[in-house]
Symmetry: C2
Subunit: 333 residues, 2 copies
């Protein structure tokens, strides 16, 4: 009889979509609300798609972060995969499983954090799904991007320089503090709470220099360098003393521990790029200034396989701790 | 030093990807394994994207279904959204949150079910994410499709005929049996376990007749007709006696209860289409034969809003039970 009442699920989804509220990119012919969103890309561009799952108790804890930060991080982590391909974000799809004790205000906070990240990154909400969860909260974010020349992990060749963006270890240090029952200091906390996907930096880098391969450091430099080495069929030689440490790690007396934190924790969402050699220091500094990000040469690509760590005099070192394995039963956060 | 060991997570993902093992569609320039997959679509086509979340205890129960069927259904439910847009599947991304008690063999069974559906539907695995879950299992499937002329929910106009594919209520009847502690009979069980997304049927329909609007019956005919009415700004008049009931419901003495089961349960993944009027019975029958699916005219579109149910003599009826609302705390499965 007459119009059916809107179901509570439908109302809640509409409220969440409004809270996220990023402007639709020009490629979006139809946004959320139908069976699927419709995109129209220019003919020469490639589409780039990836998905990233955040599970409460594995990837985040509600005791450590506001729901706003949890939403921001889930979207940022997913968009970082587009940056790693040198793609520009078009939009995201978000699936949420929500425990019954989370009220509508909490969901709106989470959506607010997602929206803040989407607006920063100029990505639209394309769709999603919402369910209750009889257990932990889960957030799955699928990202859709476009690129004229997507950059893969494969492609690094012997002779390439290895560059990294930003500084490493801030997010891992925050998780370490929380795990030890401490409150991290604000700058460290911010590194964990608000990672900035290096979308613009990646595209600027690829426009300025010859990037052969790129990966985001979601598993940590140690593990992700190994991924790039395996995909490219090369050996990565990393200089331990060149790894750019987060400011809070620089003063640590135990340099090996600081290095292990910086290279084992991946949640900073910086990038590792294999770049054709020959850039002079001054040119790199100028490019870094233009992009607004530190660029550090941390090693070189050689023939062979795997990752080798070397010291200041070229001596071979023990590898620092490896990345976080969700299935090993550890909980870094 | 040397090659890093593959992490257990990485090994498990590789094993799952192999189990799914659908051939890559021609649009897939780069499959799973990098930060993102790369797609190359023809310039004139639209991309269509959607996501569908299945949560254990809400959308499925491990007591009722094999893990193979759970995997098959999760992918089928997601691909049904592409069918509703008359898009052809290109590929899917799958995020899995897995409780610790599920062993590798169980995961391979689930992946086997996903792969069976993907191969049937000629869709590739494009990527995914894998995490442990401290609670229930969750499967989030994002689908990517392509369409020259995607069909939306909006677009139905007064005078259109309303058609539905297949027969309704089989899946809901299975869930009803399980909920009552009974084992559903095999045909009913199969309707729940192995829903077939109407991908080819939708595209065949749109090629043969003038389809103005379409939606998949994921929430049930009653709720989804209301969604189409709202999106199109029209009134849907549905003839109760024309609703094609699953064979197991046809003999029910209480016709109202059978109708409520058939129109309230959505997990059959059939389609509702608003079609320009004028097709003769013989032509519809011929088309149904070509497409290999029953096509039933169940009503018409009028000016106005909402959904109206009428009887054989045109008399207005009570609306049957509405669809399943995950947030209302019900558990239909």
């Amino acid at each position: 009889m007459g119009a059916m009442r809107e179901s509570p699920e439908f109302q809640r989804i509409r409220s969440l979509v409004q809270a996220v509220n990023a402007p639709l990119a020009r490629e979006v012919a139809l946004g959320p609300g139908d069976d699927a969103a419709i995109l129209s890309l220019s003919g020469s561009e490639f589409m780039v798609v990836s998905t990233d799952l955040s599970v409460e108790g594995v990837h985040f804890r509600r005791e450590w972060l506001s729901w706003e930060a949890i939403g921001f991080r889930a979207v940022a982590a997913a968009l970082s995969d587009l940056a790693a391909m040198a793609a520009r974000p078009v939009g995201v799809l978000v699936s949420l499983a929500v425990p019954p004790e989370l009220d509508a205000r909490t969901l709106d906070e989470m959506a607010g954090g997602m929206g803040a990240c989407l607006r920063e990154q100029e990505a639209a909400l394309l769709g999603g799904d919402l369910s209750r969860s009889p257990g932990p909260a889960m957030i799955d974010v699928t990202v859709v991007g476009a690129a004229d020349n997507p950059v893969e992990r494969a492609g690094a060749v012997p002779g390439d320089d290895l560059w990294v963006t930003g500084r490493l270890g801030g997010a891992a240090l925050a998780a370490r503090a929380w795990s030890g029952g401490l409150e991290p200091d604000p700058a460290v906390r911010r590194a964990f709470e608000c990672p900035r996907p290096r979308t613009r930096e990646a595209r600027g880098l690829c426009a300025a220099v010859d990037v052969h391969a790129m990966i985001d450091l979601s598993d940590g430099l140690a593990a992700d360098a190994a991924h790039m080495a395996a995909a490219s069929g090369v050996r990565m030689v990393l200089e331990a003393e060149r790894v750019p440490l987060h400011a809070a790690l620089e003063s640590w007396a135990q340099a090996e521990v600081a290095l292990a934190v910086a290279t084992g924790g991946g949640e900073d969402y910086e990038l590792l790029a294999a770049v054709a050699p020959g850039m002079e220091v001054g040119a790199v500094r100028k490019l870094a200034g233009e992009l607004g990000v530190e660029l550090t040469r941390i090693g070189t690509v050689e023939a062979g396989s795997g990752v080798e760590w070397v010291g200041a005099r070229g001596e071979v070192l023990e590898a620092p701790a490896s990345g976080f394995d969700h299935f090993a039963g550890e909980e870094t956060v």
